[in-house]
């Protein structure tokens, strides 16, 4: 086991806790940078997709896992980012401008939906964001002069400083950079007053307020930042799919995003990455084994969403820590070997905490 001997308060706010962190994360980054040189176009594309979902996952994690606000409408934010980016590109703006503008505009939309829904509790917020997502989806369909409606929208090829990003590799690298940027912003937030205020709101609104935290302001900010990150993911998603159809941004996609957060593990940035890997790889896995499954299960049209549903149910019932929880336990068991005790990972019994007056 590793023990940290702290000699300076700055150590606790440092991004890397010790040399091991620097080594492993550095190695991971190098590996990610090298992958397009070693692997085929298909794998690079798929991994790029994982990065894009991870960006949205990190955004949603800040909202759900750290601020305790749920959103079933994040597909709409992905769509807003995707359409903003593509429409601006088509009007001739350069990609280095459209990408941040897409993020900022989506953040603005997030604040706009966040502000009126501030007073709502978990349940009402879930319903409100669900309704919001479905309204935005209808707008994408009907506002055909801008979005192309059901005919779809061919996304122009982006260029960065004269280099055309037409293959999977270009989008892969841009997505990787954006993902690292988003993770850096999130880690910064979580170690400064803003991140602590979000955690405080998640755990107890009443006492957060009496600590001087302006609930409305921080909830709207969490919504805006979360939506903005999802908007960035959307801009990249547009280039990933290359052709935008309005029905791509439906409730099912929103549920996939929340699945990222829950299956990955609430309240952990690692969890968002794990969740994104899971959500992107499950359909690939199904595609591979589809023909080998017995009784024709593989050819059922509803197989994918129902598997998402099943995994979600199993995780909530039996593994509330998600993949990150399993990872932490495994790491603990490994470093503490042979001193692992059953009690060190036993779940605490929780009791219903009512938000109603009795």
């Amino acid at each position: 086991m590793r023990y940290l001997f702290r000699t300076d308060y700055k150590q606790d706010t440092a991004l890397a806790r010790h040399g091991g962190d620097v080594f492993w994360y550095g190695l991971l980054t190098l590996a990610m940078l090298a992958i397009p040189l070693l692997m085929g176009e298909f794998y690079v594309g798929e991994l790029g997709g994982v990065f894009i979902f991870a960006i949205a996952g990190v955004g949603l994690m800040l909202l759900v896992g750290y601020t305790g606000l749920i959103s079933l409408g994040h597909a709409a934010f992905l769509g807003i980012g995707a359409y903003t980016n593509s429409v601006l590109l088509e009007r001739g703006m350069p990609f280095v401008v459209t990408l941040p503008v897409a993020g900022l505009f989506t953040a603005f939309c997030g604040a706009a939906i966040g502000l009126p829904t501030l007073r709502m509790s978990g349940l009402y917020l879930a319903i409100a964001t669900l309704a919001f997502g479905s309204i935005v989806g209808t707008v994408f369909q009907k506002w055909s002069s801008v979005t192309g409606g059901f005919d779809g929208f061919a996304v122009p090829t982006p260029t960065i400083f004269g280099i055309g990003l037409d293959g999977a590799t270009g989008i892969y690298y841009v997505s990787l950079v954006v993902l690292i940027f988003v993770l850096w912003i999130s880690a910064n937030m979580l170690r400064s007053p803003m991140g602590r205020a979000m955690v405080a709101i998640r755990d107890s609104e009443v006492s957060a307020q009496s600590m001087g935290i302006n609930l409305a302001r921080y909830k709207a900010m969490a919504f805006a930042i979360s939506a903005g990150m999802t908007g960035l993911a959307g801009a990249l998603f547009a280039h990933y799919v290359r052709f935008l159809a309005p029905d791509a941004f439906d409730v099912l996609l929103s549920v996939q995003f929340v699945t990222i957060v829950f299956v990955g593990g609430l309240g952990s940035l690692h969890g968002a990455i794990f969740g994104a890997i899971f959500v992107r790889l499950l359909p690939q896995f199904i595609a591979i084994v589809r023909d080998d499954l017995p009784f024709g299960i593989g050819r059922l049209p509803g197989l994918e969403p129902s598997l998402f549903g099943l995994v979600l149910v199993l995780v909530i019932l039996f593994q509330p820590g998600g993949i990150n929880g399993i990872w932490q336990k495994a790491k603990h068991a490994f470093t503490a070997f042979p001193f692992k005790r059953q009690t060190s990972s036993r779940r605490q019994k929780s009791y219903a905490k009512s938000e109603r007056l009795r």
């Binding site: 759900v64 305790g68 749920i70 079933l72 009126p116 829904t117 007073r119 709502m120 509790s121 978990g122 349940l123 009402y124 879930a126 319903i127 409100a128 669900l130 309704a131 919001f132 479905s134 309204i135 209808t138 369909q141 009907k142 609104e205 009443v206 549920v255 929340v258 699945t259 829950f262 059922l300 049209p301 509803g302 197989l303 969403p305 129902s306 998402f308 549903g309 099943l310 995994v311 979600l312 149910v313 909530i316 019932l317 509330p320 019994k349 929780s350 009791y351 219903a352 905490k353 009512s354 938000e355 109603r356 007056l357 009795r358």
Partner: protein, 293 residues
């Protein structure tokens, strides 16, 4: 005269659709009042109820009334088992965990129904299919009327049950204060499962009443989203409120479909829902309550 009749026609059609929303919303509200959970799979339970009735009536050739009652009973038993086996385990977890759990269950139900009954729309003959009632100058479909009458009857039954029977009163008590009810010797957990059973039964009634108007298919559970608007208008705690809310949503939707350009009808219920949550989140009837410290 022509316009007035047209308007009345729209209102009746809207009210009929609204009754369905109201019945689904009623299922939300019963469960929410008791356990503070919201069953996002309520619409899918309705879908299951409709399919069970289809199997009994169209496949096995049972009489409509017997088949309907049996389907309601089967769906109710399913609701009981759902709570006893799965949902009881998540009491005490954050509310959005329950939201995601029931959403996940909804996907599973849809896939299950797809495996069992296929992905094509099905229907069965009812005593009300394609029949017309003449009331004065009005020509109304008996199917729509049967929905309205059925809803009113069901509500009367529920009202008597909750106010007059021992079990009904015990359910109300458990909803208001679990701990006190437990101390009074009410088996709270079983009572909660029974509430899930009633709510599933009500959903089955909605599915059966809906069948002469629209076909049964795997995706009909998405009606549940419209039922949220009904429940929210009613304040999410009031049983008559959710029915009134359902009728409001149904009528507004019909009128929007007739008077507004195409595309607006689909978003009406969602716009009503958002507007309601923003302007009057406590609903039209209930009082807003905060958390006590």
């Amino acid at each position: 005269m022509e316009d007035a009749a047209r308007l009345l026609q729209l209102v009746v059609n809207g009210a009929a659709a609204g009754c369905i929303y109201g019945l689904i919303a009623l299922g939300f509200v019963l469960i929410y009042k008791a356990t503070e959970m919201v069953n996002f799979a309520q619409g899918d339970v309705m879908m299951l109820g409709g399919f069970v009735a289809y199997s009994l009536i169209a496949h096995w050739g049972l009489n409509y009334w017997i088949g309907a009652l049996l389907a309601i009973a089967i769906t109710a038993a399913f609701g009981f088992a759902l709570d006893a086996i799965i949902l009881r385990r998540v009491i005490g977890q954050p509310q959005f965990a329950v939201v995601m759990l029931t959403l996940g269950l909804g996907f599973i139900f849809r896939a299950g129904a797809g495996i069992a009954w296929g992905y094509d729309s099905v229907g069965f003959n009812t005593p009300f299919t394609n029949k017309i009632a003449n009331i004065g100058p009005l020509i109304l479909g008996q199917d729509n009327l049967s929905i309205i009458v059925g809803t009113v009857l069901l509500c009367a039954v529920l009202y008597v049950f909750f106010s007059k029977t021992r079990l009904g009163v015990a359910m109300q008590a458990s909803s208001q204060n679990q701990l006190a009810a437990y101390y009074m010797g009410i088996p709270v957990r079983t009572v909660f499962s029974l509430i899930w059973a009633i709510s599933a039964g009500v959903a089955a009634v909605a599915g059966i009443l809906l069948s002469p108007v629209s076909m049964i298919d795997v995706n009909m559970g998405f009606l549940g989203i419209k039922a949220f608007a009904a429940a929210v208008i009613g304040g999410f705690g009031s049983i008559p409120g959710s029915l009134v809310g359902g009728v409001i949503v149904g009528v507004v939707e019909q009128l929007a479909g007739y008077y507004l350009p195409a595309g607006f009808q689909e978003v009406t219920s969602n716009v009503v829902l958002l507007a309601m949550l923003i302007l009057r989140p406590q609903g039209l009837f209930a009082e807003l309550q905060g958390k006590r410290v």
